[in-house]
Symmetry: C2
């Protein structure tokens, strides 16, 4: 993706960071199993062996990527009363997947990056080990805290479930392409209402 013919300056920190960002992009758009060390290395313009040296194993790299994300917290950027509509628009219309922005700074696809990574690798046994151990702290708990009010953990699960499921539905049906424009609008409207209801109630 980001091939660069000019020789990379010798800078371990920058290279490490570049690997991390390339891996983050890959894990956003492909599942754990479908992401190869050689792919990531090629994106950076570096040899695959270097990744092993810097990060240890592929699993360690995956953990480092998860740690490098704001994991769900960017869901909560923006006014609270817009939450439902914001998310619904992003999923129904937006360029949710793949995300191809430049790392730390949040672009259009930057939202929900951690969530995307979770989604992509649901089902991969190895990735699941990692995610099960961390998804509570990493994702559900902050969301519940942000939501607040009675039964916040429960409502957070429901909201997260709806978001994840709709994101998957989008994947399964190729961006809801079988729905007409009015239907997509209706879908966004209803989803926004359902989500906002979970936040407000």
């Amino acid at each position: 993706m980001v091939l660069c013919d000019a020789p990379r300056p010798r800078n371990a920190n920058a290279t490490r960071q570049a690997i991390l960002e390339a891996a983050r992009e890959r894990f956003c758009s492909d599942s754990y199993d479908d992401v190869g060390m050689r792919d990531v290395a090629r994106d950076v313009g570096v040899d695959a062996a270097l990744i092993s040296r810097y990060f240890g194993s592929k699993e360690d790299l995956f953990v480092a990527v998860l740690d490098s994300c704001k994991n769900g917290r960017d869901l909560m950027d923006g006014p609270r009363e817009d939450f439902g509509e914001r998310l619904a628009r992003e999923i129904v219309y937006g360029e949710v997947m793949p995300c191809q922005d430049d790392g730390q700074n949040e672009g259009a696809g930057a939202k929900m990056r951690g969530l995307l990574i979770l989604l992509r690798s649901v089902g991969s046994a190895k990735a699941m080990d990692v995610m099960q151990r961390t998804s509570n702290n990493r994702f559900f708990d902050p969301l519940a805290a942000w939501i607040g009010g009675p039964d916040a953990p429960v409502r957070a699960r429901l909201a997260a479930g709806l978001i994840m499921g709709m994101a998957i539905g989008r994947e399964l049906s190729d961006g809801y392409s079988s729905l007409g424009e009015t239907q997509k609008a209706e879908l966004a409207r209803r989803m926004a209402g359902a989500l906002q209801g979970l936040i407000d109630n």
Copy 2:
């Protein structure tokens, strides 16, 4: 799983069926990538080469398994006014995964088998090819037809999204083990209400 020391009687049709059922179980509980031909073969007590002979490729086997499921239609078994509660109980409390019943006949885990397979292999690029081509006909359209009423396709997407997302959430947090019993009850209650609202409205 179903190892059998007695030599299997030479019966191509029965063997083919046994392979299909073993593969269905595997694809229910593991992702496309994590299911190996040798695993399936071992379950049946047969050599892996036989699967290639009978089904062609692994992808063909996967398609055959999807075809052999009632794909989502079992979601609609039972009274319509119970839909929300039935699904919510199954996801929050039930033995949703893995399903280990005997094929055609529906047991506790038989519900949503096609849906489970979709979920498991979301993210696997190869499986996604297959599923994208068929998930509309196979899953969303029947659900929309069953739901009926205004914006049925839209409401079907939302219902399916909520179901899938909650099933994933269950996976991610190991059966909602971090929630107390009262919270789980509240989760089921709210999810049932949300689902039923999508069906009825």
